[in-house]
Amino acid sequence: MIEALHLTRTFGSVVAVSDLSFCVRPGEAVGLLGPNGAGKTTTFRLLTGSLGPSSGDIRIMGRPLAEHPIEARRHIGYMPENAPLYPELTGAEYLSFRAELAGLPRAERKRAVREAAEQAHASSALGIAIAHLSKGFRQRIALAAALLGQPAVLLLDEPTAGLDPNQVEQVRELVRNLAKERAVLLSTHVLSEVEATCERVIVLSRGKIALEGRLDDLRNPAVADYRLSVRAPRAEVEAAVALAVEAGHVELEEQGDGRIQLTGHGGAEAMNRLLKALVERGIAIEAAAPRRAALSEVFQAATRSGA
């Protein structure tokens, strides 16, 4: 489990992250989102212990990172952004080094390296010098390194950057599987990645949590649009709209065949009020489609305000 409690980190007068509190439990994958400069990298560096917080606490599997840094870091599998590796080593040499660094006994290292490479689809890169590997393979070697020793906590920073669509799907599948037992925190700019792998998201904006919750809840009709198609004179439809919803919340568009399309904001509640008003006026409703907000819309709404 990852627990961040009132984390704050400043660089001089610049506040990189401010009073962050969140928790990632075993068995869930959480997406960490935010525009550039929102504090994602700083948060990851704080959680891995490569940067100390100005205030606040971090617990990894119940171990306070500040008091027991080595014990706590032993539970972390970390894949940094841009996959920094040693180009002069082969994939196998690098993974063996990381396995030794993670404290795996010599007898287990070979097997652990082989299994991690298989999981990350990097087996064919084991015998090749990292300098000669493509970006995609380097990325997968870095991912395999994070999986060594089966850590309980996985921190993955842009894990699919540089991968082709097939490889992206493989990694997403892997993350979904890993998240069945482990606590996975995934930072990415690709919103579809979060939608494909995470149940929960944390949106950072200007170093603070702008939004946090389950994906289903965030995209629920409360922040979503809806679309209705009715067949009636425009004046009648406008009268019903005026009764049901606030001005400016519904746009009317005549389709030319006698139908009018209404696109509204305000979620299911607003749509239901409008439906009721239209039915009471005897207006025929041909189609009603509540639309769940796309994650990009949720993201934009949360980060635009600066929260």
Partner: protein, 254 residues
């Protein structure tokens, strides 16, 4: 799972050695070093043999480790900084330092692992020079104990240079800066020792003699190893490595 301090250091040391020897760096240094030392040794032997009739003041090995220690010091001036320049500066440049800082490993173990790797490489580079003694074994000039003390002197000077170089690599942002600052510092230490020959008698001259690397090498070439010099060099190494570990730890706060 228990993970003792030394295992973390060993992992770092092994990786560092691998990187040093799979790239040309260690091989280039080894080749250049052996060419220079071979040339120096050859000229000493040639000179000794020409004086044979009149009697050479010291044997060729003693001359190599002692009388010509200025040449040795000059070689070390470039060998040690070249070995240490990349230890931390390169990790920071390439971003791999993040891997090390997030590993279940203390800063002390990290610094010690890197130091042991450059020290082992330094020893490996010197190892072929044992052949010089093997070549001269039938001449009767080789005294094993004196030879061992001579190498102890080389190890003592080198390990101090390497510890200081490791510290400067941690302080520098690039390998080049680490190399240059290390060369300048070691040249400064060399010049400090020259004071023994140019200063008038007094505390300053005594201090200069105590710090002099050439005097240390000259003494060890005669089989003498002053315990005060051992204490001085071990203290310098301990101090430099401790400060390096504090510098590494400070990166977590920066």
């Amino acid at each position: 799972m228990r993970f003792p301090f030394w295992r973390g250091s060993l992992a770092i040391c092994r990786r560092e050695l691998l990187s040093l020897w799979v790239t040309p760096l260690a091989w280039v240094l080894l080749t250049a070093f052996l060419l220079i030392q071979g040339g120096v040794f050859y000229s000493i032997v040639l000179h000794s043999s020409s004086l044979d009739q009149g009697g050479a003041p010291v044997g060729p090995l003693q001359a190599y480790f002692g009388q010509q220690s200025v040449l040795l010091s000059m070689t070390l001036l470039f060998l040690c900084p070249a070995l240490t320049m990349r230890t931390f500066a390169e990790e920071r440049r390439s971003g791999t330092i993040e891997i090390l800082l997030t590993a279940p490993l203390g800063s002390g173990a990290l610094v010690l692992g890197k130091y042991l790797a450059v020290l082992a490489t330094y020893v490996a580079i010197w190892l072929p020079t044992v052949l010089y003694a093997v070549l001269l074994r039938d001449t009767g000039v080789v005294q094993p104990r004196v030879l061992a003390v001579s190498y102890a002197g080389i190890a003592l000077v080198g390990s101090s240079y390497l510890a200081l170089g490791t510290l400067l690599s941690a302080l520098a942002r690039s390998q080049l800066v680490a190399l240059l600052t290390s060369v300048f510092l070691q040249f400064g230490l060399f010049v400090l020792g020259v004071g023994e020959y140019v200063l008038e008698e007094g505390l300053l001259r005594d201090t200069s003699a105590y710090l002099s690397l050439t005097t240390l090498l000259e003494e060890t070439s005669r089989g003498l190893l002053d315990s005060r010099r051992i204490v001085l060099h071990l203290s310098v190494q301990a101090w430099a490595l401790y400060v390096t570990s504090r510098v590494v730890e400070s990166w977590r706060g920066s």
